[in-house]
Amino acid sequence: MKVGKDLMAASAAPLVLAILAEGESYGYAIVRRVRELSDGELEWTDGLLYPLLHRLEDAGHVSSRWGVSDTGRRRRYYEITDRGRSELAEHRRQWAAVAAALQAAWHGLGDAVDGTMRPGLAL
């Protein structure tokens, strides 16, 4: 299965915010965490994460600082801000609404599908 481009784009910001809500992190670790959380179903183009992070920073949802990695490289660390947390809460409300609606819609559909798959019972 491959998650569609639009869905991936829509879920990117809430995912990043949620991961940063777990604690300060940096780009590569965020990408790995996404892969871990989605069991490899969400395959991001790694390079596109950074423009997203910078957009979130411009919007005041995350803040960043330059630090040094264990191996001595310059590394940029990101941290969620208070505004980012309230944005994340808003994302959660919206996604919950979407997920609930889909769930309800598919519940009805599921019965219909089941019905056609078991003609014996229908007769």
């Binding site: 590569y28 183009t45 390079g47 950074y50 423009p51 411009d58 490289r73």
Partner: protein
């Protein structure tokens, strides 16, 4: 974990140079991407891949360079309106045609009110009331579009009301020099209030100020277009109705003109945001066309000043030079706002530098003429205001020239210049308010 071998190291360097070559990716961005690439490399090597293989996989995962570069470009050139209009999020721009018509009518009526007052015993009341009211409505329109907090509206209303009541309270004897000066500086202060509303109250933000500078230029272009078209229409109407034997000049002047002018301020503000793409494409072209022409003109003036032995001690020369400096600053601001912060230095920068230096030299000549005049005849409100404005502009342009020079020499980024200009914006506000409030009583409302 050991560092990658020399071959892979060279590959990384090449990859980095290629990423940077895209223009939209800054060195800091490249550092960040490189850290990512190396992190991934280490991880892949640790899980058993050879370094060459790991490099290929890591680069592939990074994504197509043009895609990445395009996303970075999008992020850098991101404008406030895009965030507000397209990216969704908390704040969404409101306002369809109904809002434009509503606020436009309000601005038109405000202008008409000023017009009516100006026709009475106190002609100065017309603009002293009309300016804060009309621009107050423009600011309120932007406030409404942004859906900003009531505090922003309260601030807009407070500033407009304070300026308007002060204008009415000052005992001017007709449209005196100080009354005209107060109106001009009120215009400047009110325009910055519009900026406050434009930024949705976040007036400290560098990005919001840059967007407002852009907005100002585009608003002026739309106002000019509307005025040109409206003026032509009024002219044709006058001619046709005159042919029909009906005199409509009075109706046009007392109703159509003020209502139209007032309404146009709101419509132009709306057009800037709604039809953004149109001007976004034109603005950089306009700057590139006008910068060389303006540079030529200023250099010609400079040559003339040297040839003629400097300015005559005329009243208007410093005002003319002030206006010229405003035009030069406008061109500088416009070209700065049209470029991404990491655009490489080019011939336009050298041209801007020449333009600013020529304008400063010309100003020096005018100031020299002015100094003797002030010593001989003393200070008048006009001289004080033009001199003060001149200093405000010169301080800005002098630092601009230094920053442009260091940019062209070192091929540095545009960001310091843009920061300087956005930081300077409040200076204009402080000066405008000071003159509007303090100058009239200082000179006994003469």
């Amino acid at each position: 974990m050991s560092a990658p071998d020399a071959g892979v190291e060279a590959e990384i360097a090449r990859w980095r140079a290629y990423v940077l070559g895209r223009g939209s990716v800054s060195t800091a961005d490249a550092d960040e991407l490189e850290d990512h690439l190396r992190g991934h490399l280490e991880h892949l090597v640790a899980s058993g891949l050879s370094e060459d293989e790991a490099f290929l996989v890591a680069v592939k995962r990074m994504g197509s360079q043009s895609d990445v570069a395009r996303e970075f470009a999008r992020q850098h050139q991101r404008r406030l309106w895009r965030e507000l209009v397209l990216d969704g999020g908390a704040a969404r721009a409101r306002g369809g045609l109904a809002a434009v018509l509503g606020f436009g009518s309000a601005a038109g009526l405000a202008a008409r009110l000023g017009w009516a007052l100006g026709g009475g015993e106190h002609p100065q009341d017309g603009f002293l009331l009309g300016i804060p009211l009309v621009l107050g409505v423009v600011a309120a329109f932007l406030w409404w579009r942004r859906g900003s907090s009531p505090r922003v509206l309260a601030a807009i209303g407070g500033i407009a009301a304070a300026l308007a009541s002060l204008g009415l309270a000052y005992p001017f004897d007709g449209a005196t020099d100080t009354a005209v000066l107060m109106a001009l500086h009120m215009l400047m202060a009110m325009w910055l209030t519009v900026g406050f509303a434009y930024a949705g109250g976040h007036w400290r933000s560098h990005a919001a100020r840059m967007d407002f500078i852009r907005f100002t230029g585009e608003w002026a272009i739309y106002m000019f277009l509307i005025a040109a078209a409206g003026g032509a229409l009024i002219g044709v109407s006058l001619a046709v109705f005159e042919g029909l034997g009906i005199d409509i000049a009075d109706a046009l002047l007392t109703w159509v003109l003020p209502l139209g002018m007032g309404g146009a301020t709101v419509v132009a503000a709306w057009l800037v945001e709604a039809k953004q793409e149109v001007l976004e494409a034109i603005a950089p072209v306009l700057t590139r066309v006008f910068t060389p022409i303006a540079t030529l003109a200023v250099v010609a003036m400079l040559v003339a000043a040297v040839a003629s032995g400097g300015f005559e001690e005329s009243r208007e020369s410093l005002i003319a030079v002030d206006v010229l400096l405003v035009v030069v600053l406008g061109l500088v601001l416009y070209s700065l706002s049209a470029l991404p912060p990491d655009a490489p230095a080019g011939w336009t920068d050298r041209m801007q530098l020449a333009l600013v230096i020529a304008a400063l030299l010309l100003d020096l000549a005018a100031l020299a003429a002015m100094a003797t005049r002030i010593v001989d005849l003393g200070l008048t409100p006009n001289r004080l205001a033009t001199l003060g404005m001149n200093l405000v502009l010169v301080a800005n342009l002098a630092v601009t020239a230094v920053l442009y020079a260091s940019r062209t020499v070192r091929n540095g980024p545009l960001a310091p210049l843009q920061r300087w200009q956005t930081r300077y914006v409040p200076v204009f506000g402080v000066w405008a308010v000071t003159v509007a409030v303090a100058l009239p009583p200082l000179f006994a409302f003469a």
